[in-house]
Amino acid sequence: MSSAGNNGRALPRAGRALPWALVTPALGWTLLFFVLPFIAMGFSSLTAHEGGGFTLSNYSQFFTNPSYWQAMVNSLQVTAIVTVVSVLLAYPFAWILAEQVPERGQRLALMLAVLPFWTSYVVRSYSWLLVLAQNGVINRVLTGSGLITEPLQLANTRLATVTGFVHFFVMLLTLTIFANLKQLSPSYRKAAADLGAGPVRTFLHVILPLTLPGIMVGAFLTFVLCIGDYITPQILGGNNELLMPQLVMMQIGRRGDFPLASALSIILMAVVTIAYLACARWLKIERT
């Protein structure tokens, strides 16, 4: 890794063309199928759906149409709830895996914890439907045991969307926080104990601040993946309240309105960029 970039003299006979021949295909692909589409989307967002011509109406619609605005509010609320709940659930779990599970069992315990990660994403959301449906597992158990008489409305609610998301992100955050906890040298804990701190103070003043960067990276990932996801809210939330990705897909699917869909996508990306800048301090992800 450290070798990168300082071995230019390793190739006496190679012309200057060779390195460019190696990197150009990848760069070209990225420019052609990632950067160019993005520019196309930018242009598209500035055109009128009917008749073409440049206009800012796609953007102004977002700010003036309350239902579009509401989709962004819903998205931000759901994402915030999911991020907070996932971190709160995953942190103690990662801590238990790192501290309470014996060293030999840790790898297995972690692999088990992320195993469901590898079910198909569409299928995973659908399986939550089996659990949460009107006559699904939870309602059957609750009515069967006599706790409730009428089945609860669990599917097609915000609760269902949040549950599906949290399920996914608990696994992701457990991975990142676990890695962070394992990197901490045990001498910090010993030093804190030697200086007379109890376990609670050690945790609050030593462990937690040291793992904060890991938490922030995980939380940022959660934010980005959650706010841009279409599948989980569409399957589990139904159409009772729309989130941004659902709104984008709706413009394409039902109305064929590419310019508006482009504008909404760009707004969504802008929000992610703002989130990135807000936590950039913690996000100095090493470019290896």
Binding site: S120, V131, D229, I252
Partner: protein
């Protein structure tokens, strides 16, 4: 106190495992349902829904499409990723930090937006929706991953072997094919298998960019319109099984590295 923490930890860990495994267990269990609804009470076991999946021409052709797109797009991504990783690791290029950033940039953008961009571009360029279009999108999302994995595994010991080969008179293409590729094989396969799992599971880009022939996740999506159905459970369980195989291959290839 210590005892209490221990017991509380066990209870908490079991509860989280329960939460994580609940949907998967329900999925697999009710794929074995013998009646038509994948809900309690359990009436199985029966393999009739697996039978139904494997005799469904739409699903099996979607499965073949998915595998084809996954293999071809991953091979493309890993080839481009490997060549560029080698280029960046071995040569000084002007602005190489920036260019590497450009290659990894798609990692930070949601699949929906990548798919949207390609849809708008292809629409303008008159490229019809197809598996090829979706495959191009899959390369966009997997190229940064392959690049990052392979680039991070390019170490100093490989440089020396390459230099030795050159000193012995090997031309550049021979160094690449006979030295670098075999030495880097674990990272290359790891990148390939990881790409396969992502492409195999990818939905939004395929949904936006294909029309008639489509991939398995999109076909599963279409199945969902017919409501809860044990056939969906069966096909979901099969997809899960394939993913697990790919993940195990990824783990094995990446963990076998570092002989010294």
């Amino acid at each position: 106190m210590r005892q209490f923490v221990r017991i509380a930890s066990w209870v908490y860990a079991l509860a989280v495992y329960g939460f994580i495994f609940l949907p998967v267990v329900v999925l697999v269990l009710f794929s074995l349902q013998s009646t038509s609804f994948p809900i309690p009470p359990f009436t199985g076991p029966s393999l009739r829904w697996y039978d139904a999946v494997l005799s469904d021409a739409r699903l099996t052709s979607a499965l073949v499409n998915s595998l084809m797109v996954a293999v071809l797009s991953s091979a493309t991504a890993v080839t481009l990723g490997f060549l560029s990783a080698w280029g960046f690791a071995r040569f000084v290029l002007p602005g190489s930090g920036l260019l590497r950033g450009l290659i990894t940039l798609p990692l930070t953008v949601s699949y929906l937006i990548i798919g949207m961009g390609l849809l708008v571009l292809f629409n303008w360029a008159g490229v019809p929706k197809s598996l090829l279009a979706a495959g191009i999108g899959h390369v966009v999302i997997n190229l940064p991953l392959c690049f990052a994995i392979i680039y991070s595994q390019m170490g100093d010991h490989q440089i020396n072997i390459e230099r030795a080969a050159r000193d012995l008179g090997a031309p550049e293409w021979k160094v690449l094919l006979l030295i670098t590729v075999p030495v880097m094989a674990p990272a290359i396969f790891a990148g390939f298998f990881l790409s396969m799992t992502f492409s195999w599971d990818e939905f939004v880009i395929s949904f936006l960019l294909t029309r008639f022939d489509t991939t398995l996740p999109v076909e599963i999506w279409n199945l969902l319109r017919s409501g809860l159905n044990p056939k969906t459970n069966a096909v979901g369980s099969l997809v899960f099984a394939v993913s697990i195989v790919l993940v195990v291959l990824f783990e094995l290839t990446l963990l076998r590295r570092k002989p010294a």
